[in-house]
Symmetry: D2
Subunit: 139 residues, 4 copies
């Protein structure tokens, strides 16, 4: 069993392209919305985090596979799971589902960066709750 | 004769929606690209402007009519013309054309704002060149 | 009293720009999400509508005023109200609020178009429920 | 020496986010613009291709590393190189540069799909010019 967080995303015209399906780059937006809501569900507000620690999360790498297309009006279930964690970075495993069909699977690596020096720094302790609650090992 | 600035914009998948045409909100992006390039053509860089005067241009109102759709791969000609000018704001009249077909016509009102106080302030003198060169009255 | 529909929209990084606020063109997306959800709340699915009547709603004109900026993590309340109705078109009056602060007010005119002939046609009867339920006169 | 195609992309407000830099998902748009212009430079129009062969290119996988941020007004050089080719798919190696600084490197795998059956089919012969002209082996 995987103890993953999931968030619902509705597809609007703004998300689609002339192929009649969701524009592939937009899945990165959906995945980020789910990560943000996962933090919010743990009581973490990214702006307050930034003010308190002078740090920001920066996306360092994304890797996305597209399995099936989503269409206008589809309701997607977007999941969040911590795959790996180091001192300054977290790699998420994320999926987008429409009912029981896997549309897309991604790995997103974010790095915690000092706002002033723009250098990698340790992840704030509050965020580590994420790792304990929603990780492959925790399941 | 109108002494307008014009800028070429190509339509990619990212600009279209499931209706097979350019998503209407994206014309605001095209119009902004043309305004930015109009300033650049006059030797004005918005970032340098902001650093020098601590001011920024903020869009206060937009009004867009959609006459005909643009499609993937279309090359649009987007025009810029100053319609009105006050101490702190400029209203642009802009159009998007595909060959000889008018796709969209807009009015965009931008206001010069002080970055610190976030209040309307006088437009930097360099930008007034815009008004003399590309305005309805100047034609 | 106004009998308006309202829909909640959260601001993510994807919605903001380098000014630190929501990019003005993105309010058009927020307004469309609210119109779509308003139809859905009345049991209307736009795709089914299109299949049944071979019609589609096309945005003909938008007019937006920007009063105050929204920022990352803000939760906006976006409203929908029918202002005017003709045989083939509806003009919506829409607003975006953050708590008790009006951020943006817009008028959006949509036209019902025949998919094959791409000509204005009468609005499907189901959609007229919108007009009776959420209009300035109905309040 | 690598025989790559390159295309210039300017950064506008629409491309940035509240971090003051280009929103990471938007690099996928920049990479697609460059691929499209690479095809156009070879005399290939994707819409005509679709009409002639009833095929379309679908993005199957993307993998992007982010090395340094781009900012408002930056002019990026986006490159296109064919890394691998099979009967129905092409994997591109793409980079985004700002002057001599590498901002992002990506692999994008596109698959040629039959519009009616939505199944992988052989790449149209015209497109194979791409492979001979702009590939790692060709350099």
């Amino acid at each position: 069993m995987r103890n993953e967080f999931s968030w619902s995303v509705r597809v609007y015209y703004e998300d689609t392209d002339a192929g009649g399906i969701v524009f592939y780059a937009n899945y990165l937006k959906f995945f980020e919305r789910a990560r943000t809501e996962c933090l919010r569900a743990l009581g973490i507000n990214q702006l307050q985090m930034t003010e308190k620690y002078r740090t920001i999360f920066v996306v360092k790498a994304t890797s996305v596979e597209y399995h099936a297309p989503a269409r206008l009006d589809d309701e997607l279930r977007v999941t969040v799971l911590v795959k790996e964690k180091s001192r300054a970075s977290i790699t998420f495993l994320q999926e987008a589902w429409c009912v029981d069909r896997l549309l897309s699977r991604a790995e997103v690596k974010v790095c915690c960066v000092d706002l002033d020096a723009w250098k990698a720094v340790a992840i704030p302790p509050e965020v580590l709750k994420l790792v304990t609650m929603f990780s492959l090992e925790a399941g």
